[in-house]
Amino acid sequence: METTAAPLPPNPDPCLNVEITPELVAQHGLLPEEYERILGILGRTPNLTELGIFSVMWSEHCAYKNTRKLLKLFPTEKKDKNAIGQVLVKAGDENAGVIDVGEGWGVAFKIESHNHPSAIEPFEGAATGVGGIVRDIFTMGARPVLLTNSLRFGSLESSQVKRLFRGVVSGISHYGNCLGIPNMGGDVYFDDCYEGNPLVNALCAGILRHEEIQKGAATGVGNPVYYVGPGTGRDGLGGASFASRELTEESAEDRPAVQKGDPFMEKLLLEACLEMMSIPGLVVGIQDMGAAGLTCSTCETASRGDSGIEIDLDLVPQRETGMNSYEIMLSESQERMLVIVAKGRERELEEVFEKWDLYAAHIGEVKEGNRMVVRQKGVVVADLPAKSLTDEAPIYDQPASEPAHLVKAREWKVDSIPELGQDAVEGALLGLLTHPTIASKRWIWKQYDHMVMSGCTVEPGSDAGVVKLSIAGINKYLAIANDCNNRFCYLDPYTGAQIAFVECMRNLACSGARALAVTDNLNFGNPNKPEAYHMLKECVKGLADACAHFDVPVVGGNVSLYNEHGEGAIDPTPVVSMVGLIDHPDRVTRSGVKDSGLELILLGGLPDELGGSYYLQSAFNKKEGTCPKVDLDAEMNLQNLLIGQIEEGRICAAHDLSEGGLLVCLAEMLFDTHGLGASVSLPNLGTSGRLDALLFGESQARAIIAVKPDNCDAVIQAANNLGVPAHTMGKTDDSSQLKVEVAGTSVINTDVSGLKNAWERAIPKHMEIA
C-alpha cells in the first residue's frame, strides 16, 4: 500500500510513539486486510491513537460489520401510512428510534446488550448496561418512562450462575432505582447454554413531543463542541472491542474494560440535559459517550452532520492525571455526553450545568471539511476522515452452513417420548412450575422500583408491563413485552425467531395493547463460524418476515456476537421487544383472573405439538424435536380477536399459551386471587392423540380468556367470524382446586395454593443465603 501522506508529529506521550506491527494490529482485533484498508484511507501509517480509534469504531459493536447487510432485511417503516405508530426516527439514524403515539407525542425506545461486561463483573456490567440505554433515550430529547430487561443465565444449580444472577439483578436494581425510572421486569430464561456467558439486554422507553426530537449531528461551522458530565478516567478502556471477542478463561483479565457506573451522576446528567434541551434553539446536536466514548461521539456527530470536528484533549475534564490521547479517546467512563451548541449561546448551556454541579467544558468546534482532528499539548494526535470510521467500516457476508442438529430436529418423531400417564400429570405440572424459566420472577422484580413516576398500571408478572403516561399529562398507556425462547431458535432458527415475535405481540394483545414497533437484540455466537452465522441469518430472515407480515417495523436495536464460552456458542437468542398502546383504562387487561363464575375459553384450538417444549426439558432433560408451526394468519386472527373483544369490554383476563403450555397457563391465571379455583373439561386428546402434547405442548397462536357467562356467546360468535377455534372449557370457582378432565377422565385435581407455593418458592429457594 502506498503511504504518501506526511506522518503526524510524535505524540506528547513517548510510549505511544511505537511502530505499528502486525502483532499490534492483531491485538486491536483488526484483520490484516482491514489494516490495509486503513492505510489506503489515510495514505500513511496510523499512529497508535488512530489505530485504537479504528479498532473500536470498526468493531462489531459499533460498526455491525458482520450484520449490516442482514439488518437491511428489517422493515423500518410502516406500510400503512394511516395507522398509529408511524416511524418518526428510523433505526440506525440516531441514538434510538422514535414512533408516533398520537396527540403530538412520540415514544423513543431501544434495547442494548451488556453481555460481556456482565459475565466478568455482573453488578457493574448490568448497572452500566442500564445507564447506557437510558442515555440513548434522553439523548433523543425524551423523558424516560420505563425500563425492562431480557436476561439469560445458566442453570441455578451452579453456584457461579447464582453469583452472576444475584449480581446482575442487584446491578440493575441499584442503577435503575436511583434514576427513578420504573423497571417493569422483562423476561428471564435459564438454560445451560448461557453458563459462563449470561445475556443482559436492557431496554428503555421515553416520551417526547415531536418537535423536541434531537439530532446527533454536528452542523454549523464554528459551533462550539461541549463535553458535559463527570470527568474521564481510565475505566472501560476499549470496551467496544472487548465486547466483540469471545469470552475465554483470560477474559477476567479484561476487567479494566468493564466500566463503573454512577447512577447519581446519570440522574444529574439526565435532568440537566432535558433542561438544556427544553431551551429553544440552544442544542444543535447531542450524542452520548457510550461504546467507544469520546471517539464514537465525535466522529459520529461529524459524519452525520457532513462536517469536520476538532477537539483539544487538554480541555477534557479528567479525573486521573497523566492520561494520554489513546486513553482519553478510548475510555468508556460513564455518564458523559457531547453537545454541539449554537454559537454565541454558550452561557445558557453552562448555566444549566452549573445548576446541576456538572462539568460543561468547551473542548472543540465544528469545522469545514470532513476530518476529525484531535489535539493534545498543541500537537495533532489524530487526524482522520470522520466518515471513514462510520461509513467505510468493512462489511462482511460470512459463509453460512446449516448445523447438523437442525436436520436431526426436523427428523424427530414424537414416538421417541414415552406417553404421559394420568397419574403423572400433577408431577409434570409441578416440574414445569418450578423450572426457573417458568417460576414466579417476583424475587427479581421486588428488587426493582416499578412504581416510581406514579404510572405503573400493570405490575411485572403479567403478560406485558403497562405504564400510564401520566408524566406527559395524557390518558394513554404504554405496554411493553420482551420475548425469545432460545430452545425454538436452536431447533429451527427461522421459525424460532418468528415465535419470539408472535409471542411478544400476543403478550401485548392479551394486555389489550395494539403493537406499534419492535426493537430487537440479536445475541449470537461467533459470526466467523459458518454454523453460527447460519443461525443468525435464519433468525433475522424469520424476524424480518414476521415484521413485514404484521406491519410492525423495527426501529432500532443492538447486535451482540461472540457470545461463546468454553463449550461453544449460546443458543441463538434474537430478543424481541415490542411497545404497544392502550387508549383507555378499561382496556388494560391482566393475565390473572379476579372472580369466580367466569367462563374459561381456550382460543386457537387444542395444542398438539411437543417438540422443543419445556416439558421435554423438565421431564426428560431434552432440547430436541420439531419446533411448533407458526401460522402468521392464524396468529393475526387470534390477536385481532383478543384486542377486539377487549375493546368491546368482554374479556376479564387473558393469558397466552407459551412455555409450559395449557396447564401452566391455566394454573398461572388462578395465582393472583386467593381461594380461586377452576373446573375444566377438554373434549378429547386433540389431533396428536397424546395427553402430554395436549396439556404441555407449546403450539402457537393460542390463549385462554376469562369471560362473564353473559358475554360468552358473543365472544364465541366473534371467534367464529374470524375463524379462530374456541373451546369453552369450564369455569372459575371458589373451590381453591384446579380440576381438569380430558374426555371425561380426571387428569388432575389439586390444591391451587400448593401449586402457587411451589411456583413462587422455586427461585427464592435457589437464592436464599444459607
Partner: protein, 228 residues
C-alpha cells in the same frame, strides 16, 4: 404555591408528589430547588423520595447540608407542616427534625411492594378513624430499617408519635415502625409512598387519606373538600 416539594439533586419522586397534591388533591404545589429559598406563603413542605446526592455516605447525610435546609428548619420551628416520604424521611432524621435513623433493610436488598400497614391513633389528624385501621401503601427502599435508642423509642411510644407500623415487617424496623411524627405534630416522616396510591390505575387509593391528613390544616382553610 401552597405546598412546596423540595428537589435535591437525585430526588426522583418530586414529580409524583407534586402531581398527587396539585392534580389529585387540588392544592397549588410546586417544586423548589435545594439551592433556592423556600418561597413566601408556603404552608406545607414535602421532602420527596429518591436518592438525594446518590445516598452516598448515608441516606440523607449530604442533603441535610443543602442551603434550603436552614429555611426548612425555621419553617418547622414556626409550626409549618413538613412531610418526609422515603428519602425525605431519611433526610428529616439526618437533619434532626425527626428522631432516629434509617439503616439498610435486614434482607440486604431493595424492596418494592404493596405493604400492609397498621394505623396508630397518633393525634387528631393521624388516627384509625381518619385513616382506617389498616392501609396498603407502596414501599420502595433499600434502607428503611428504622432504628432509635431505647430512650428515644420509649418517648416515641409514650407520646403516640408512631403513625404507621408494618404488618408484616419487610425490613427489620424496630417496633415495626413505618412512620413517625415529631412531638408537636407538625413534622411527619414515613417510608411508604402515599403519593403512589391516589389514582384509579394505582394498586389502591389508600394514599389519599394519608396525604389529606397531612394537608388537613391547608384543606380546612381552603375551599377544597376533604372527601373525594
Amino acid at each position: 404555591m401552597k405546598v412546596a416539594i423540595i428537589q435535591f439533586p437525585g430526588s426522583n419522586c418530586d414529580w409524583d408528589a407534586e402531581h398527587s397534591v396539585q392534580n389529585v388533591i387540588g392544592l397549588p404545589a410546586g417544586r423548589v430547588w435545594h439551592k433556592d429559598p423556600l418561597p413566601e406563603g408556603v404552608e406545607a413542605v414535602i421532602v420527596p423520595g429518591g436518592f438525594s446526592f446518590g445516598d452516598y455516605l448515608r441516606c440523607g447525610a449530604i442533603a441535610r447540608f443543602s442551603p434550603i435546609m436552614s429555611d426548612l428548619q425555621r419553617f418547622a420551628d414556626q409550626g409549618g407542616q413538613v412531610l418526609g416520604i422515603c428519602n425525605g424521611f431519611q433526610i428529616l432524621c439526618e437533619s434532626g427534625l425527626l428522631p432516629g435513623a434509617l439503616v439498610r433493610n435486614d434482607c440486604m436488598e431493595f424492596r418494592c411492594l404493596n405493604q400492609s400497614l397498621k394505623v396508630e391513633d397518633s393525634n387528631e389528624r393521624f388516627n384509625t378513624e381518619a385513616l382506617a385501621a389498616q392501609l396498603t401503601l407502596p414501599i420502595a427502599h433499600g434502607e428503611g430499617n428504622y432504628r432509635a435508642d431505647t430512650e428515644v423509642l420509649a418517648d416515641l411510644e409514650a407520646n403516640n408519635q408512631v403513625l404507621l407500623r408494618y404488618s408484616p415487617n419487610p425490613n427489620g424496623s424496630i417496633n415495626d415502625i413505618a412512620g413517625i411524627r415529631n412531638p408537636t405534630g407538625n413534622v411527619y416522616g414515613m417510608m411508604p409512598h402515599p403519593e403512589r396510591a391516589v389514582e384509579s390505575h394505582h394498586p389502591c387509593l389508600d394514599g389519599l387519606p394519608v396525604l389529606r391528613a397531612f394537608l388537613q390544616p391547608l384543606l380546612q382553610s381552603s375551599s377544597v373538600k376533604l372527601s373525594a
